[in-house]
């Protein structure tokens, strides 16, 4: 029999007979074999590394619990992921033109970047907004800006993602008001607001109010949407920024899922049924340089979420168990040095996102460490996705890496590390308590500092930065600049809106908002009334701040 000729003794025998003698003569490279997050990686993975795994319970079938292999039964054979490039620059006119350009290039969903003042709930004419208007995204202060932003784009036909958090309820209301003006029923609208305040306290730091009223506003949007805008994703629970702030992959996974658990808890405390809102929660993860670690992270994320929703919260609807996620390649991994190299980094990261089973994907542009993406750079980034989708062949089969000893073992390892953090956060009394104690913030700052040290000591390589450095490099790509006139034009428009609106109606809507903020009533209708009366973002924020107060951080470094 052929089998009897197979050498017995498994791994121990191989190590002794084959590996041992070889390694003596040819030692391995003198580097740390570990992921970018410093997770040690073994020389070889074999069946004993996946011994504890049960195929049906742990890996299973696509579109079925625990969704390790993906949330849809056919994955990309049915429909490719949504190619969604984040865009926002200057005033509403510029971003509207970029949206139309991207749709013409074959992009399938819109994704809106707002400028910093808007993200912080400040109007373009606020003194703190000086120099920032339209720089990192589009400036939106009133419904008028939103009308221009989506001019000529039929809101009933596109899906729109809006990266907005502290003032999410207001920006969301502005989008709904534009839909009303276009005559599109709210039930037909599809899209996402990020609306994830926990990761703001943890990582991105764009907050307005303290945690409690912030969570109330988020639950208000969940409750309102469940009835009025059923196809809308009301929170995009985001690990992206946690990773960008310097976390490891396992920390990103853990803190993001802990945030998600916090939102579900808050919804249940409001009296909502878990299956009434959990299906509309979606996720947003980072895809960094370490290829297999990222794939494992996404597979582990789905498995943990499914088990938490079913086990911890008793969700019955399979759609509540499914972790659907947007992914963006890691901006923090890109280098200002030799920026063309970023195209390659992004391609590898995007491939990991696809092999990890993402539902939508943004690929970063090569010039993002230097400026906002130019049209040329953003086109290369979008083409990268199209090449992965239609040339590489990876979309032909579902979860192609399942069953790899390495990938399955790494998936389990990520799950284990994340669960250990989640348990720690549970013991602290939940994510709000953990944030107040600065726990995730401190863990991330530690990881960021440790990584920086490794880079400076040459223990981690960044090509073009600490190895293969080019002398006297000239930036070979054209950079996009936002002209200062944008700020002036935007301020002029805001002044015009304030002058021409019905001032009395605006004031009365704002008073009503403050009054409702003192009650426990859902604030979405009052916010919508303010929006329709052309109140500004900051006026609405101030109206609520009167009741809610402002958040202040104790910084740790």
């Amino acid at each position: 029999m052929a089998d009897s000729k197979k050498p017995a003794g498994g791994r121990a025998r191989w190590e002794k007979e084959t590996l041992g003698p070889h390694i003596e003569k040819h030692p391995e490279r003198d580097v740390e074999f570990s992921t970018v997050s410093s997770l040690p990686i073994r020389r070889l993975y074999s069946p004993e590394d996946v011994e504890g795994l049960d195929f049906d319970n742990d890996i299973g079938w696509p579109g079925e619990f625990p969704y390790t292999r993906g949330v849809q039964p056919t994955m990309y054979r049915g429909r490719l992921w949504t190619m969604r490039m984040f865009a926002g620059l200057g005033a509403a006119e510029e971003t509207n033109a970029r949206f139309k350009y991207l749709l013409k290039q074959g992009q399938t969903g819109l994704s809106t970047a707002f400028d910093l003042p808007t993200l912080m709930g400040r109007d373009s004419d606020s003194p703190l907004a000086e120099g920032e208007v339209g720089k990192e995204g589009v400036a939106v202060s009133t419904l008028r800006d939103m009308e221009i932003l989506f001019d000529g784009i039929p809101l009933g036909e596109v899906s729109t993602s809006m990266t907005i958090n502290a003032p999410a309820a207001v920006i969301y209301a502005m989008y709904l008001a534009v839909a009303e003006k276009q005559g599109v029923p709210l039930k037909k609208l599809r899209g996402t607001i990020q609306n994830d305040i926990f990761k703001e306290y943890i990582a991105q730091k764009e907050w307005i109010y303290p945690p409690e009223p912030s969570v109330r506003l988020i639950v208000d949007t969940m409750e309102f949407s469940a009835k009025e805008v059923p196809q809308w994703n009301t929170i995009s629970i985001s690990g992206y920024h946690i990773r960008e702030a310097g976390s490891t992959a396992a920390q990103e996974l853990a803190f993001t899922l802990a945030d998600g658990i916090g939102y579900v808890q808050a919804g249940i405390e409001r009296g909502l049924g878990v299956d009434d809102f959990a299906p509309r929660l979606s996720y947003f993860f980072n895809s960094h340089n370490d290829f297999f670690e990222e794939i494992a992270k996404l597979r582990a994320a789905r498995r943990i979420w499914a088990r938490e929703l079913r086990g911890r919260f008793g969700a019955k609807d399979p759609r509540s168990w499914m972790l659907r996620t947007h992914v963006q390649t890691a901006g923090c991994s890109l280098t200002a040095q030799q920026p063309m190299n970023n195209i390659v980094r992004v391609a590898i990261q995007a491939l990991a996102a696809v092999l990890g089973g993402c539902q939508s994907l943004h690929t970063d542009s090569m010039d993002e460490t230097l400026c906002l993406p130019s049209e040329q750079a953003v086109t290369v980034a979008l083409r990268t996705q199209q090449i992965i989708a239609e040339e590489s062949g990876v979309a032909n089969t579902i979860d192609p890496l399942a069953g790899s000893y390495f990938v399955e073992s790494l998936t389990s390892e990520m799950e284990k590390q994340a669960l250990s953090y989640i348990r720690k956060i549970d013991d602290m009394g939940g994510i709000i308590k953990a944030i107040e104690r600065g726990f995730p913030q401190r863990e991330i700052a530690e990881a960021a500092y440790a990584y920086q040290k490794q880079v400076e000591e040459g223990r981690k390589t960044i090509v073009g930065v600490n190895k293969y450095v080019a002398e006297n490099e000239e930036v070979p790509i054209p950079l996009l600049k936002i002209p200062p006139e944008v700020e002036e034009r935007q301020r002029a428009r805001l002044a015009e809106v304030k002058r021409t609106r019905d001032g009395k109606a605006a004031l009365s809507a704002l008073h009503d908002l403050t009054a409702k903020a003192r009650t426990t009533e859902n604030l979405m209708p009052a916010i919508l009334d303010c929006v329709r009366a052309y109140c500004t973002l900051q006026e609405m924020g101030d109206a609520m701040k009167e009741v809610f107060g402002e958040y202040r951080e104790t910084s740790v470094f």
């Binding site: 003042p117 907004a129 120099g131 040095q337 460490t369 960021a448 951080e553």
Partner: protein, 138 residues
Amino acid sequence: MAQTRMRLLIGKVGLDGHDRGAKIIARALRDAGYEVIYTGLHQTAEQVAATAIQEDVDAVGLSILSGAHNTLFPKVIKLLSEKGAGDIVVFGGGIIPDDDIPGLLAAGVAKIFTPGTPTSDVIKFLEEEVAPKRANAR
């Protein structure tokens, strides 16, 4: 008398919340033996200038990743010199295009560090550019 340790203020001006770089620099400089104060986020130029004077620092390092550098750097420098603290060295880092650097240097910024700079370069700068000024002043 032994010379006191160099005092530094690491600041975040404006609405920009990207604090990974500022915190890493603050920590690296503290580990290198300097006295480091970090302003925390969302400070106005006025607040940063006032803190710098009140804390009697030798240098202020500003971290700006929001694209507002051409507005905010000159503003802090102007405020410092108006308050008679023009001797405080201002340096900075962040997402700052090469084309903007000459203008910032002309406006009085002592040095701009762009992404990928090792923290040891910042320490070298402080020792070579800021330390001698302190020796002269005392």
